[in-house]
Structures are given as structure tokens and as C-alpha cells.
Symmetry: C2
Subunit: 309 residues, 2 copies
């Protein structure tokens, strides 16, 4: 069987990196020739996780077709979030927990998606179904991904399956996930070390909505004031990035991961659609969105809905 | 939980009808309020199956949004193969074994696809994973769907999972599936009772390829001469239907289900793309395609490929 690459989305977060490693491990046990790679540098949180569990950073690729004919996607499906030459390779497997959008294939494939909080939760299920044991180190990585995606099970995306998976993985990894989780989330929010340009790019994803190119970034923090103090710089970075990449609309959601409160920054148009989506009025291109912590569940669907109506 | 409808594709075949019933049964056991419906009258083969196992014909719907907010799709995902107002409802679940094309959602969902011969094979797996028992009557229906989709395990779409499922289901249903299968396939091929217009419509599906509206129908028979004797009438029916519905290209694949040989009829343009796809030369808008029995595996992918290159 020809080798395939396994990877998560661009601007990888902990789940994108970890789910690729976990799925590649599982598929290798099932007889596939696979390598887990990444579409960008791990962020600070992921680096903390990889260091903590003594796991190497994955190889970073810019294109896939120069190495393989086929790939497996984790934690994404939308082509604009994938490898730049995704149109030139065949996608044989997808494991995801997002909406499906713009994803087209010529032939049948394996596609496994559930509306759970984290792809590593789904992969935990796949290990179980295929009766493959999860090594302790990998269990530690996978529970880190669940902590990251669900903000320690507090995000509204959290499901009973995520709660069950994190407990099972914590047992295998022999770790107190709550203590570890707070340490991990804090490690990922050292904003002082990042430039404004890095902050608006690090966790950003691209979408097409109503024919517009929409960019949505999320900044996690343990103190929103730290973000608000940099408002002017962040707005300039958003404007620069939008001009450079041709985004029509750029949203940056700054989220306090400890108390589930977010501040939204908006650049570009249509701003009225953003106001309608979140039933709010922008002041100085900003709005407070209490309780909004999930891009996937609380930002993308209402925005898509507002674009369509 | 609000009621949801479960259905397969337009011009339903046995798998489209049966998989909807099987998935609805499973989901009802898992706590969902669901009803299996169909997007058209069952064909002769399906009627034979429903009669054989004393199962009622499903209710036929033309639209969904007038009854429910959400639906579950089986055996298809492409919107033009689904209910006419699919854009007005939310798809919460898909179980399928086709390519993914033009299927977009605003929110995450359950999506389960594998490149197996029959969706009822996948649903057999889902019963197992969820530890729900398959009643004997339902097992009979599901094995009929597998026989139908895989032409008694002879189609190149057949996988080990289909072979395992049909055996497990035959045991539950207490049936000799080989004897039953030949009887069932013959029951579905009584072409004499159908008009030319019915023959080119009964198992037809619509696709968008290279911006063209492509219609592909399949006629199963136990004697290709029976189809060839009606060539003029079939071609006229194809032309009439294409004019009425605006199809650019109309393919009808007549397949001898007993010896895996097919005759292809082509109406419309681009015919050169069809010739390239099947590496053949059309004579009188016809070509013999020995060994081609699967639209999904042997017709759609090469045609899509020829449109793209």
C-alpha cells in the first residue's frame, strides 16, 4: 500500500497536531503506511504538550502531491483550511467534528464525523472499535487535545463522549487532568511573547460565506484586559493581514478561558451581518459576547446563517 | 427531541428504501423520534423484497420542511439527489457509501461513510457498535439491499465487510441468500412491464460534472438483447427526458446482472468526454463495456476524471 500523509488544518492547534499523530498510529496498526505531519509550527500550548509528554514535533509540509498521491485529513475538511495543493491529491479518510463545506471527492471514501468537542474524542472511540490499545504517552497527548478544544470540558461543544474519553485517557496516562489542564491552558496564553501579527494569525481559519472570504481567529487568554490593552495594534494587524490576503471580513474572538467571556474585534465588511449574527451592536468595531467561547458552535453557524438570510 | 425524517435518494433502489428503514429502527432504539420515508415509489425489485418479508411500503414525501426541521440521509449526500427542499432543512446525520459532492452544512453533524458495497452493510456495523439487536425481518431486508447493490457480491464494489454482513444477516433472517438472491435479482428485471420512459428514469441519478448537468441511469437485466431490441425507444425517451429536464448529458447503462456485462447508451454532449472516460469509441451513440457493473465505482469516477482533465 502506497504511503499516505495524515494532517490537521493550517494554523494547527493542539487537536490538529495530536489527532494526526493519534490517527496515524491507529492506521499504522491497521496496516496503512502513514506519516503524521503538520501544516504549520505548533503553537505555544502544543509545544508545552509535546514537551510535557516528550513527543517530537511533527514534520511540517507546505505541499503534499510532491510526496504522495493520497492523504488522510483530521480536524478539518474545508479545502481552504487544508494543504495548499489539496486539489492534487486524493483524500481517502477524514475524521472531523466540524461542518462540511466545499469538500468534494471523485470517489467514495472513509468519512467519520460527529458533533463532539474534539477529534481526539472520536479517535479514542475508533481505537476502542478497532480493539487497538492506546499507549500511555499518546493518551496524554489526546487528553491534552480534548482539554484544549473543550477548555477543560467547559465549552458548550463538550459532550458526554468528551467527558468519558478524557477520563479513560487520564487513567491510561495516569494523570490528574484537572490540575494538568489548568497548567496547560495557562501555558498556551502567554500573549506577551507574541506580536500583534502573530496573535491574529496563530489560530485563524478561513471560510467562504455568502461568496465572501471570511477569516476568523481566536485568542485565548486568562485576562481579557491584556488583549484590550493591545486593541490598536491588533486592529492594525487585522487590517494589514486582510489587505495582504484579500479577506473581506476578519473576526478576532478574544476569549477568557477561565470565565468563558469573549470580546469580538471586527475588520472589513459586511459588519451589519456580524451585528445580526450575534444580535449585538458594534462599538469601535468591537462587541462583548458573554458565554461565547466556541468558534465552531457559537461563531460560524450564526454568521453563516446571517449571511444566508 | 423533535421528530426527524430518514430517507434515501430519489428514484429509490432497494438500499435507499431499506437503509432508511434500518437506520430509523436503530436511531429509534437510541432515543431519536424518527420516521423512515421514501422520495419515490419502490421499484419492482424493492416491491418483491417488501412483499417477501411482509414489510409495508414507506410513505412517500415530496418535501420535508413542511413536516420537520431536521432530516437524516442514507445512501446519498448530493443535494440534487435528495428531497427537493433539502436546502430548507438541517441534515443531522448521513450514512453513505458514495463520493461527497456539493454537500454543505452550517453546523457539525454525524457523517459516517465507508467505501463499502452497500449502506446496509455499514448500518449492520452500526447495530453492532451500538449493541442493538437486528430483528429477523429487518435482517432479511438488509441482506436484500446488499444483494441488490453488490449484484450478489459480484460487483467490484463488494468488500469483505459486505461479505461478512450478508452472512451475519442471512443467519439472523434464516435464509439461503444465494438462492433467494437470484430470485430477487430476476424479479427486479422484468423489463417487459415497463415503458421506455420508465426504464430511463427508474434508477437514474443526477450529477454536476465540469459545470454540466449529467444524468446517469442503470437498467438491470438478465438478457441484454431485451434492452437492445428497444434501442430506438430508449434513445427517444432519453432525448425527451433531457429536453424536459435540461440535462446536458444522459447516460444509460444496461447491465446483465448475471454475467457482469454492460451496454452504454449516450445522449447529449460532450460525447468525446464519455469516450475518453471509458477509453472507447461510441458507435450509434452506444458502446459495450464488459465488466462495468457499478455506476458508483466504474462510471462516475472515470467520467468525473475525464471532465476534469
Amino acid at each position: 500500500m502506497a504511503k499516505e500523509l495524515v494532517f490537521g488544518h493550517q494554523s494547527p492547534d493542539t487537536d490538529a497536531i495530536v489527532a494526526a499523530k493519534a490517527y496515524a498510529y491507529l492506521q499504522s496498526k491497521l496496516g496503512y503506511d502513514v506519516e503524521a505531519v503538520a501544516l504549520g509550527e505548533p503553537n505555544m500550548e502544543t509545544n508545552f504538550v509535546l514537551n510535557y509528554f516528550n513527543e517530537p514535533t511533527p514534520r511540517i509540509i507546505k505541499t503534499a502531491a510532491n510526496e504522495v498521491d493520497s492523504v488522510m485529513l483530521v480536524d478539518h475538511n474545508e479545502p481552504q483550511q487544508s494543504v495548499s495543493d489539496i486539489a492534487d491529491v486524493t483524500v481517502t479518510h477524514v475524521v472531523d467534528h466540524h461542518r462540511i463545506n466545499g469538500f468534494n471527492t471523485a470517489a467514495p471514501l472513509y468519512y467519520r464525523a460527529e458533533p463532539v468537542g474534539c477529534v481526539s474524542t472520536l479517535i479514542t472511540e475508533l481505537f476502542d472499535e478497532n480493539k487497538v490499545e492506546i499507549p500511555a504517552q499518546l493518551a496524554g497527548l489526546m487528553l491534552s487535545a480534548i482539554i484544549s478544544d473543550t477548555l477543560l470540558l467547559k465549552s458548550p461543544t463538550t459532550t458526554d463522549k468528551d467527558r468519558a474519553a478524557i477520563k479513560a485517557l487520564a487513567e491510561i496516562a495516569d494523570i490528574d487532568y484537572e490540575t494538568y489542564g489548568i497548567e496547560m491552558l495557562k501555558a498556551g496564553t502567554n500573549l506577551a511573547s507574541k506580536t500583534d501579527a502573530e496573535l491574529v494569525a496563530n489560530d485563524a481559519k478561513s471560510f467562504t460565506m455568502g461568496g465572501k472570504s471570511v477569516r476568523i481567529d481566536q485568542i485565548n487568554t486568562v485576562d481579557l484586559n491584556e488583549v484590550l490593552a493591545r486593541e490598536d495594534g491588533l486592529k492594525k494587524a487585522m487590517a494589514d493581514e486582510a489587505a495582504k490576503e484579500g479577506y473581506d471580513l476578519f473576526l478576532v474572538l478574544a476569549t477568557n478561558v477561565l470565565d468563558s467571556n469573549s470580546e469580538l474585534f471586527v475588520y472589513g465588511e459586511p459588519k451589519a451581518t456580524v451585528e445580526k449574527a450575534f444580535n449585538t451592536t458594534l462599538k469601535d468595531d468591537r462587541a462583548n459576547l458573554p458565554g461565547v467561547v466556541s468558534r465552531k458552535k457559537q461563531v460560524v453557524p450564526p454568521l453563516q446563517g446571517a449571511f444566508e438570510n
